[in-house]
């Protein structure tokens, strides 16, 4: 997943949680960069028509931005689910965050053929828990077996 997609995913989740614009500070925290770096990328996303940035209010994704963010979130869900259910990784959230930059969408699509993902994905993603709500149950079930 490229850097722009990681930002789009982060903005999407923050604006969903806030039910409004995403603050640039929260975006910088989510992708673990300085506010200056976040501002630079937000500017690029604006130029590409993927986000609108209003000073003192925050960032909102455009319709095109939302489509791409949802695709990125789906890729992230595949990585999390693959780590949890195929490789049995308990810290799947942390590892998915570390690995997402190296896993391309095409690779995630291939991994998707061997996992069980819910049809409502990525709407079942719980931003607060940083994981798919359905995955949590599946993983705990597996762990207690």
């Amino acid at each position: 997943m490229n850097t722009a997609d990681q930002y789009l995913k982060a903005i999407y989740l923050i604006q969903k949680q806030a039910d409004g614009p995403a603050a640039t500070g929260a975006i910088a925290d989510a992708v673990d960069v300085s506010p200056a770096s976040a501002n630079e990328m937000i500017g690029k996303l604006e130029e590409r028509g993927l986000a609108d940035h209003e000073k003192y209010k925050g960032v909102m994704l455009t319709d095109d931005g939302i489509v791409r963010a949802r695709d990125a979130l789906q890729t992230y869900c595949i990585i999390e689910r693959f780590l949890a259910n195929v490789l049995g990784v308990e810290e799947f959230r942390e590892e998915a965050g570390e690995l997402e930059a190296v896993i391309d969408d095409t690779v995630a699509d291939r991994l998707d053929t061997i996992i069980d993902r819910e049809p409502e994905c990525p709407d079942c993603f719980d931003a607060e828990a940083d994981a798919c709500a359905c995955l949590e149950a599946a993983f705990e079930g597996t762990a207690s077996d």
């Binding site: 850097t3 990681q6 992708v31 673990d32 490789l87 570390e98 690995l99 930059a101 690779v107 061997i114």
Partner: protein
């Protein structure tokens, strides 16, 4: 989450190598089952292609397993993964020669992209790995070259048909 595509530890490298092994398992399982499912009507060229793909994937998997062994990290039960992949290979199983070739092309392209990204991530890392980074890169570059040759081979067969 942090942006950027660098390897930051032995564990992370091992995890990516494990993902490579699963991808190779998927290729091997799909090639094997396509080979079997169309056994009677399979033509010699496709038969050879699938056989080579399965053999090559098994060889790549072994080379990746050797790299993981050198990293001295906790392993995953590969037999379970093999069983799982085997059980699920057929979800998008193609039903004709064009489908098989297209699927094989996707396999090779996906593997190429995976190794290409992984090589870049290893090249860019400033983390201290417990293994010889150049030796790891040599193996990964050799596998990537195989995948590139595989893409060309499948594309050539598709063009000729």
């Amino acid at each position: 989450m942090s942006v950027g595509s660098r390897i930051t530890s032995d564990d992370q490298l091992a995890r990516l190598l494990q993902i490579g092994i699963v991808l190779e398992e998927v290729v091997e399982a799909r090639a094997y089952h396509h080979y079997r499912s169309l056994d009677e009507e399979l033509d010699a060229e496709i038969e050879e292609l699938l056989e080579e793909a399965a053999t090559e994937s098994a060889e790549h998997r072994e080379r990746l397993e050797d790299l993981i062994a050198d990293l001295d990290v906790e392993s995953v039960p590969f037999e379970e993964i093999e069983t799982l992949v085997e059980a699920r290979y057929g979800r998008t199983q193609p039903d004709d020669f064009d489908g098989i070739l297209y699927d094989q092309l996707c396999n090779e392209e996906t593997a190429y992209k995976f190794y290409d990204d992984l090589i870049e991530a290893v090249e860019d890392t400033d983390a201290e790995l417990s293994v010889d980074r150049e030796a790891v890169l040599d193996v990964l570059r050799a596998i990537r070259a195989d995948e590139a040759a595989g893409v060309e081979e499948v594309a050539r067969i598709m063009e000729d048909r």
